[in-house]
Structures are given as C-alpha cells and as structure tokens.
C-alpha cells in the first residue's frame, strides 16, 4: 500500500503544474517537452507558457504592423512572430528569436541617418526584390560615408546581450570603399562605445586584396590607415538571406 502511494505521487503532477514549470524554461525547452508525455504535450502548448515567452509589449508591436493576422493560441502567435514582421509603416522589421524568445529589430535604410542620402548626386533610393524593405539606399559615389542608426533600448528585451550589425551588399562594380578601413562603433546608455574598424569588402577577396596592397601600395595604405582609429579591420560575413553583415559591436540591455 505504501509502495503504491509512492509510485502515484509522481504521476499526479497536474497539467497546470507542468505548465507553470515550463513557463520558467525557454521556448526551445517547452517545444522539446511536448514529446515527454501527453500531459506534457498539452501543458507545453498552453497559453500560460507562451504568454511568458512572448515579449511583454507584443500587443503593441503587433498593432504597429500593417498585416492583420489571426491566431488561435499564444504559441501560434509566438511562432508567427519568429518570421520577420514589418512594423512602423514598413520602416522596421521585427522578429522574435525562436529558441530564446528575445526580440530583434532591423532598421530600414529610411530609418537610418545616412549623410547626404537625400542628394541624388551621392545616393539614390531603389526598390530591390531581394530586400525585406520597400526601399534601399544605393551609394553612387561619395567623399564622406557616414551611417548611423538609433533604437530606443526600452524596445529591446531586458537582461540581454545584443549585437548591432550593418547589413549591406557590395556590388561588383564598386571601388574605393575599402581603400581604407571604416570606423565602426556602438554606443549605448551604459556601454562605453569602443570604436574599431572594418573593411567594406567581400571576405573571400580580403586575403588577395591585402596581399596586393602590401605589394604595390604599402606606404599609401599605411598612411590612409593612420587616419582612422586602430581596429581589428574586420570584414563582413555572409548571411543566410544573401546579404552581408558586419558586427559593429555588442552591448548589454539591463
């Protein structure tokens, strides 16, 4: 009799208790837990769990989207928001990171401050099929390249280490962009904003170009390099979506 009770004790963990436990885990752990048992499956699908994983201001974010969509559960909404969603009249793209539930944003070129971008002599605005945004800024030629982006930190997930990236493409015909390193930095409310450098060139051409530069214009390269801060001279890496990205820096959002 005693033995029977011992055994039963474990099995009576009610679904509500399982939901509460799972709401303290991560989206990834909750999805994985569906496979534990039928009780875990219905607990792992419950709104109690996914309400906790959604950003606190998800209703506000969803209301900023032009697209109206229906969802039958909080889990369905969460998974929907893991795909990019255009907000703020198409000027920003929002997405939830699936495994952690953290928020990420992409600012469109229209949401960035690009020096002289309104002067058609230097920049023009175009619509590219491969862009998530309706317009991108295309550089013609310029003697001053300066791009800045701002985001309110309260829009971001708390207690999270964020990375800031510049997403770009470098056309085949481009020249001079990488004749010297560009200064890059991230500044935040509580981060010092250390500056480093990047070469706006394709990673696969980096080694060959560096060798050429050393051979033919070593002195000139050194002279140009001395005009900017010392940095690691990083190069963009390729993203899954066909664009390039450069990490500008990291910051911690409390």
């Amino acid at each position: 009799m005693e033995g029977l009770m011992e055994d039963d004790e474990f099995k009576i963990l009610p679904e509500g208790c399982v939901s509460s436990i799972l709401s303290f885990t991560s989206p990834q752990d909750a999805c994985k837990s569906s496979l534990v048992s039928t009780i875990f499956q219905s607990a792992a699908d419950s709104d109690i769990v996914w309400e906790r994983f959604l950003p606190v201001d998800y209703e506000d974010i969803v209301s900023k989207s032009n697209v109206r969509f229906k969802f039958s559960s909080k889990k369905e909404l969460f998974l929907h928001l893991c795909n990019s969603l255009l907000i703020d009249g198409g000027r920003k793209s929002f997405r939830i990171e699936k495994s952690s539930g953290k928020k990420s944003f992409i600012l469109s070129a229209r949401d960035l401050q690009i020096t002289w971008s309104n002067d058609p002599l230097y920049w023009h605005w175009a619509s590219l099929p491969e862009s998530r945004f309706s317009e991108v800024a295309v550089l013609r030629t310029v003697s001053w390249l300066e791009i800045a982006g701002k985001i309110k930190t309260q829009m971001l997930s708390p207690n999270t280490k964020y990375g800031a990236y510049l997403i770009l493409k470098i056309s085949e015909r481009s020249y001079g962009l990488d004749s010297m390193p560009s200064e890059i930095s991230v500044e935040g409310g509580n981060s010092q904003g250390s500056t480093t450098t990047a070469y706006l060139r394709l990673a696969r051409e980096h080694a060959r170009k560096q060798q050429m530069e050393r051979l033919f214009y070593g002195n000139r390269m050194e002279m140009l390099k001395s005009r900017v801060v010392e940095g690691d001279g990083r190069v963009p890496s390729e993203r899954d979506d066909g664009w390039l990205e450069i990490e500008l820096g990291e910051f911690f959002e409390w």
Partner: protein, 183 residues
C-alpha cells in the same frame, strides 16, 4: 581520558539547563494541527498555517476545527513545505531581500530532484505562491537544455505516445531537438 578536573564543569552546565520548560509557557502561540494523507500529524504555529491559502480558507469556513486534513499531501513534502514557510515568516517580520534570496536558493539546491517534484503539487494545492515560483524556477533550471529522455526520468514519467505520434511531434518541433546537453 584521566582528566578528572573536566567533570565538575560539565555537571554545572547541566544544572543550568534544567529550568528550560518555563520558556515554552512564557510565549503562548496558537497551534494548528495538519494531518497528511499518510496520517502523520504536524503541529504548526497559526502564522505558518496561514501562509497556506487553502488552510486559511478552510479555517475561515469552519473556525471551530482544530485539525485540518490534507488528503492530497504526504508527510515528507509537507514537512519540507512547512520548513520553508517557517523561514518566510521570519523574513516577513524582518525583511531582508538578500538573505531571503540566499535562503530560497539554498533551500532548493540541497533538495533531490524527486523532493522538488513532490513539493510542487503540494505547494500548488496549498496555494503558496512564493514557494511555487521558487520550485518552478529550480526545476526549470534542472531540465534546461536536457534531452526528452532525461526529462522523462527526471519526472518519473513514462512515454505514452505511439510511435507515429512521437514521429509527428519530432517533425513539428525538429528545431527544438538540436544542441541539447549530454544527460
């Protein structure tokens, strides 16, 4: 071994301890009796029992009773829950967030997986919100990034899916099974 000089001091100490029973009667507190499903009796101070929302409402409905039966609760998790609530009463009298955090962390760290899992339905039934949060977080931390098989054995649960159901679920959440820790 042979130090005869030690024994006199020992005897004086024991005589000093003798008037102890008086201190009990000096501070009378109302006691409430809780009875677990395995018929064990727990005498707790009223303030501790009132931490249990379920017991509190039981008394509000029938104030004359002195023994509260807890048919869903066995002795071991109940004694641990009482231990936790006694400490919380002290923190209520003397709020010290840092100490409380430290105590709560130690309380769960020293418990076995089974102890934690057994306490959850008890804390849930007795509606002790603070303890539930502490327990849920502790269990969540222990199953974080673990395999499905690990979680099953952690909770002592059998797989009740058919092979087809399991395969379908694995397909649905394929991304979630990547990169789990070794058991």
């Amino acid at each position: 071994m042979s130090s005869s000089t030690d024994s006199p001091t020992l005897t004086t100490e024991t005589t000093q301890l003798s008037p102890q029973p008086d201190t009990e009667t000096a501070k009378p507190t109302k006691k409430i009796t809780l009875k677990s499903s395995d018929n064990q009796i727990f005498e707790v101070e009223e303030s501790v029992a009132m931490e249990f929302a379920t017991v509190k409402s039981f008394f509000e409905d029938s104030p004359s009773t002195d023994t509260v039966p807890l048919p869903n609760v066995t002795a071991k998790p109940l004694s641990q829950v009482i231990e936790f609530c006694k400490e919380q009463i002290k923190f209520k009298a003397n709020p010290d967030e840092a100490q409380k955090k430290k105590y709560n962390a130690e309380f769960v760290t020293e418990k076995s997986d089974k102890d934690l899992v057994d306490m959850i339905p008890v804390a849930n039934y007795l509606e002790i919100k603070d303890l539930l949060d502490v327990l849920n977080q502790a269990v969540a931390d222990r199953i974080e990034n673990k395999s499905v098989e690990y979680v099953r054995s952690f909770f002592g649960i059998d797989n009740d899916f058919t092979a087809e159901e399991e395969a379908a679920l694995r397909r649905e959440h394929a991304w979630a099974y990547e990169g789990v820790d070794e058991d």
